[in-house]
Amino acid sequence: MKKEQIKDQESIQTSERQGMPRRDFFKLLGGGIIVFFRPWRVLDLFGMPAEQARSLPKDYNAFLHIAEDGTVTCFTGKIEMGQGIITSLPQMMADELNIPVERIKMIMGDTDLCPWDQGTWGSLSTRVFGQSMRAAAAEARGVLLDLGSTQLGVPVSQLEVRDGVITDTKDPKKTVSYAQLTKGTRIEKFLDVKPSMEDYTKFKSIGKSYNHSDATLKVTGEAKYAGDMKLPGMVFARILRPPSHAAKMTSVDYSGAEKIAGTKVVRDGDLVAVINESRDKADEAIVKIKAEYSFNELPVNDKTIYEYMLKADSNVTVVKSTGDLEAGEKLCEKTIESEFHDPYLAHVAVETHTALARLEGDKMTVWASTQSPFGLRDGITRELSLPAEKVRVITPFVGGGFGGKGEFQQGIEAAKLAKLTGKPVMLMWTREEEFFYDTFHPAGVVKIKSGIDKSGLIKLWDYNLYYSGTRGADAIYDIPNTKITHYSQKSGGSPVHQFGTGAWRAPNNNTNTFAREVQIDIMAAAAGIDPMEFRLKNLKDEKMIACLKAVADKFGYVPGKTRSGRGIGIACGIDAGSWVAHIAEVKVDKSTGKVKVVSIACAQDMGLCVNPEGATIQMEGCITMGLGYTLGEEVLFEGGKVLTHGLDTYNIPRFSWLPKIDTLILDRKDKPPQGGGEPAIIAIGAVVANAIFDATGIL
């Protein structure tokens, strides 16, 4: 039995200590590999505590309103942050109501007007909310047809609807419009038997490409984000922040800040803030506050965190187990052990966390950049002891979220300050605050022991995941003996993560797909089999096989055993109900270790694709953003101090990084729609690492 040890952490640490950018140190890794990830702190639809697992309303009136002029307003607690649902949700509603998409107006993320919603994340807007909304609209259409039937004295079976007008097919002069039937009022009739949603063969809008409906607003500067709101008497706030997550304030002197013209200092316990009508003056004042702190730092930093996790007293859960690992190992001709390290990552939406809060009488209204308007409403209700109906959260356009705006600390802070000062308070976090309070993608470790038999079939898969989450941790290949073990924070134990961590675009799946797919390539090389052939040989998942074949075709893939020197890599994975496969080509400068990603092709099976243009843009965005975690991004820290403060040192993708991107969406319009905002990012780390492996023989 031959074992190949894939461990060489010393060289990684050395290169990091010297401050070498990640894209350079792939070459220096020897056998080791670095990955990325985090536990899903933001509420997950499927893992939500029972008391919070509320559901969408049953009354379709909560989703839509038909005005006297025939305009249909669609209400959703979801928000628009660039993912494009402001364009695609109307397409879905239009096809159920049989109206033109242009007639639909969107009201999004307003807690007084929209049906309760858990938040905009997890690629759930289309596959869960969208489907519920379609069902609601289908019932509304059924009711309108009933009402139309009564009005026209014609059976429903004899009616058809086009553009919101119900017509008697036998006497086309007999018509009545939705608007005439409802007269702008709420529809009081409901159906006992809910009608089915429209069949895909009848779609007029779904499946058709639409450009962003908000593009004109966004290219003219008219689109309003939370920070663009202004109210009479509004002041800007800046809050005093501790230097470390392990710091506690012992004394504070704000006499210096009060000398800055127009400045008022407000304090409520540990919350110390300055307000000023001028943002520049507030910036000037906040740095004049002198505070002392005591520190309770744990001895861990961005270099030692991986060892820290492996040694920690963890909560150990076997997530999944099949067959028998010992028996599996006996079947293997070769076994391979690898350890993957993944650093902390920041979200870096270009819009920082922002909120404007106003307390008028006993009603608190907050305009916030958040992925969770109802979560923020509940947070304010709790923190300020206000009844829920006295708190309204309004979400204008959100300037990027990626999971980071599932947290809404800034909204609660603004509300507290509005109450303390009696003025409308605008709080727009600085980039440094953003890097300090970001709920980072968590660092983590994956250890895998896997093995193949003589024919190149995988017989063993022992997967150990430390301090990341399990989304995407499934083996996906057809392996008889598997075990997936999760090591996580022990309740009451010393915290492993020294600051907040949370969901980062396709949370945890970037980590898990990286580890799995790189391990697959190491095994393919050990078996001496082309990595595409090796995958197809070990897969039974028809969707994955179809995606791999489609991307091979798109890329023009020519088989070649890994370490071919060509710099071509393959990776695939599953996220948010969608299947993706990628092929990448890289060029590696062997003298400097610099990697240039030349091209990436991606095939995606996302079920019914509502807006192909929008979905394609999301795939391109995923691929481009994914290059950041692959080649450049890492949050540095020492204990509770976050050492990465700004965009000068945190290396996100830029124009010069851009590869040629080719995308393909498989035609699956007979299947339910699945997620589109996240899947195509999950395999970017692996596909690039595998291409580097192919180019250099080094991971």
Binding site: M81, G82, Q83, G84, N211, H212, D214, A215, T216, L217, K218, V219, T220, G221, E222, A223, K224, Y225, G227, D228, K230, S278, R279, D280, D283, H347, V348, A349, V350, E351, T352, F397, V398, G399, G400, G401, F402, M428, T430, R431, E613, I617, E620, G621, C622, I623, T624, M625, G646, L647, D648, I652, P653, R654, F655, S656, L658, I661
Partner: protein
């Protein structure tokens, strides 16, 4: 200390009684209500606050309003002329070259400035010229295509 600052703003003679040390970004946003110019980092690293001053793209967060005195300042709100969108704006719509839209005004202003200086940039020149404007959504590929299209529309490109 407040003083009268005069400059050309979006084609109009403008004056304001204002502290000249205030940053141009916050004066544009808060005093003039021109909120299309965005705050992204306040340190000149992201480009979301880019405006044109005498046809040159600059980071308004790094400039005081006093520095703009006597100059010609154009923000995203002033790019369209008589309601007709600038070719760069049109091209961003055509290519769907945006997602969340927050970096978009800065991207457009920077691209407009780039095309004034170099009406027919190559793809490499576009990448070089746009390099320090950050987009997190990953609209880069389409932004490059949009700048190429705008260049052709403006008869810069062949």
């Amino acid at each position: 200390m407040e003083e009268t600052i005069k400059f050309q703003l979006n084609g109009k003679k403008t004056e304001a009684m204002i502290d000249p040390t205030q940053s141009l970004l916050w004066v544009l946003r808060d005093h003039f209500g021109l909120t299309g110019t965005k705050f992204g980092c306040g340190m000149g690293f992201c480009g979301a606050c880019t405006v044109l001053i005498d046809n040159e793209p600059v980071r308004s967060c790094q400039l005081s309003v006093g520095d703009a005195a006597g100059k010609n300042v154009v923000t995203i709100e002033g790019l369209a002329i008589n309601g007709k969108l600038h070719p760069v704006q049109e091209a961003f719509i055509k290519h769907d070259a945006l997602q969340c839209g927050y970096c978009t005004p800065g991207m457009i202003m920077n691209a407009a400035g780039l095309l004034i200086k170099n009406p027919a940039p190559s793809v490499q020149e576009i990448k070089d010229g746009m390099e320090n404007n950050l987009c997190r959504c990953g609209a880069h590929m389409r932004i490059i295509e949009a700048v190429q299209t705008a260049s052709k529309e403006m008869k810069g490109g062949k």
